[in-house]
């Protein structure tokens, strides 16, 4: 699914969050949005999901205006988005049940998906009984089970420790390679963006505006990101992080 933002403005009352943002995301592309907190990146995801409407401009998917949420465009949240009153398998199955698929069939498929993210045996656990990493694996399963064409990730691994995060990034990358959705990834983690993204958009402070775009299409990547050191440095500099040792 091809996503397109045309001159999008978004205001919440007097607060101007996004101003004149335009961008195209080709089908199957993974675009990372990096920027200071509160700069409006998450709002872009909510616009693409259809949870919010733009104040001005157009957001379209394959040429059709996005007016409401739908299972073709799914959103993965940072944390606590699983339902604490449902077991892991029921959390995943709910995504299918909302589309009118029967409970037992939804459960069967949910079970398969939990296995797919290495959570076989944890089906009957409640979210509070498992680790944060396992919860986010479940959230990924819940997102992919509906075979979305657009996947919107809102700092999905932001609350995890560094090692768990890298393991989850690999799970995510495999799933994306298999199912090839168009992905918008909001992250604070520059390394995560470098590792996963085909393109990185670096945003300014609010109202969000693209400072610079980096293209990594067709790059082979591993967690050793040393060959991207110069891009990393540049992105951090754009975000106002010092990368040079100061001599005085």
């Amino acid at each position: 699914m091809h996503l397109s933002f045309e001159q999008v403005d978004k205001r919440f009352g007097k607060l101007e969050v996004i101003k004149g943002f335009s961008g195209e995301m080709a089908s199957g592309e993974l675009v990372a949005l990096v920027g200071p907190s509160g700069c409006g990146k998450s709002t872009l995801l909510h616009l693409a999901a259809g949870l919010e409407k733009p104040t001005a401009g157009k957001v379209t998917a394959d040429g059709n205006a996005i007016t409401q949420p739908g299972p073709k465009r799914t959103l993965v949240f940072q944390e606590h988005a699983l339902y604490p009153w449902l077991t892991l398998v029921d959390n995943v199955a709910m995504a299918l049940e909302m589309q009118g698929i029967g409970k037992s069939s939804a459960r069967e498929q949910a079970k398969t998906w939990l296995g797919r993210v290495n959570l076989a045996g944890f089906e009957q656990y409640y979210p509070h009984q498992v680790s944060g990493g396992m919860r986010q694996r479940t959230a990924l399963a819940r997102a992919f089970i509906a075979s979305p064409e657009v996947l919107l990730l809102d700092e999905p691994f932001g609350a995890l420790d560094a090692l768990t995060r890298m393991a989850l990034q690999d799970v995510l990358r495999e799933l994306i390679e298999e199912h090839k959705p168009t992905v918008l990834l909001v992250t604070h983690d520059v390394d995560e963006a470098l590792y996963l993204a085909d393109r990185i958009l670096v945003f300014s402070n609010r109202p969000a505006r693209v400072l610079k775009e980096f293209n990594f299409t067709h790059c082979e990547k591993s967690h050793d990101l040393s060959e991207f050191a110069s891009e990393r440095k540049e992105i951090l500099a754009l975000l106002g992080i010092k990368t040079e040792v100061e001599h005085s």
Binding site: L51, P69, W85, M98, Q99
Partner: protein
């Protein structure tokens, strides 16, 4: 969970038992220090209780009270939960309803009895309405307040899955407010029970615990008074601590694992 935040098992039962013993002790102490025609002791009252249970009249009264409670409390639960949930998603309706409840709740439900008696006539209906009124307010308020703290991310997640409004209410709002809903139901039960007994004492239609209590008082039968009070206490405790507690543990199973 590594940290234990509530008493479980035998310790909890021990605590409850201690409370019961304490209350009975005060009662018996009063009975020892007052003449027996004023304050009968526990054995006398228990004897009367067992005798009463044998009588069909007493059992009919009990059934009458319970059916009035069931009808009034049932209505209150149904409408309280319904209004509370609707208030959760319609913000303007919520504020209107909340204001109305705050005003109406300040009137003791028993104060409506004279009006209801004249409008609805002498019978079961005014008592049922009084019970329903007493239970409705805490029920609707607790559900409505709880819907305000439903996490936006839980709502957004369901909307992204393509949930309809009805599915949102049934699959997100209702389970999310369940802990407060049950607390509200327990609170509402307390109100309903008090309203029932007072209404029965006041109206005195048909048979029932309140009527029987008031009658015992009128003929200065203190054993009868204490027997009725004992039955009122036992029944309320059973319903609250056994029926509603079991329901709570069943609905909130996920919190107990």
């Amino acid at each position: 969970m590594s940290q234990q935040r509530r008493l479980t098992g035998p310790k909890k039962y021990l605590a409850v038992l201690l409370a019961v013993v304490f209350i009975l002790l005060i009662w018996q102490a009063a009975a020892w220090s007052l003449p027996s025609f004023l304050m009968p002791g526990i054995p006398t009252v228990l004897e009367r209780l067992f005798a009463s249970i044998q009588q069909p009249e007493f059992r009919e009264g009990l059934a009458g009270s319970m059916s009035r409670l069931g009808a009034g409390y049932g209505f209150a639960l149904l409408f309280g939960i319904g209004f509370g949930l609707v208030g959760g998603i319609l913000f303007f309706f919520r504020e209107t309803l909340r204001a109305a409840i705050v005003i109406l709740q300040s009137i003791p439900s028993i104060a409506w009895v004279p009006l209801f008696l004249i409008v609805m006539g002498f019978g079961n209906l005014p008592m049922i309405v009084v019970v329903a009124l007493a239970a409705f307010f805490p029920m609707a308020l607790s559900v409505m307040n709880a819907t305000e703290s439903v996490q936006p991310v839980h709502v957004a997640a369901a909307r992204v899955m393509g949930a309809s409004r009805w599915q949102l209410i049934k699959r997100v709002y209702l389970p999310a407010v369940m802990p407060e809903l049950i607390t509200g139901a327990q609170l509402a039960f307390g109100n309903a029970w008090r309203a029932l007994i007072s209404a029965e004492m006041l109206i005195g239609f048909g048979q029932g615990l309140g009527r029987s209590l008031a009658y015992s008082g009128e003929i200065a039968d203190m054993v009868g008074v204490m027997t009725n009070i004992l039955v009122i206490a036992i029944l309320a405790t059973l319903i609250d601590q056994v029926v509603l507690e079991k329901f709570k543990q069943r609905m909130l199973r996920y919190q107990y694992v």
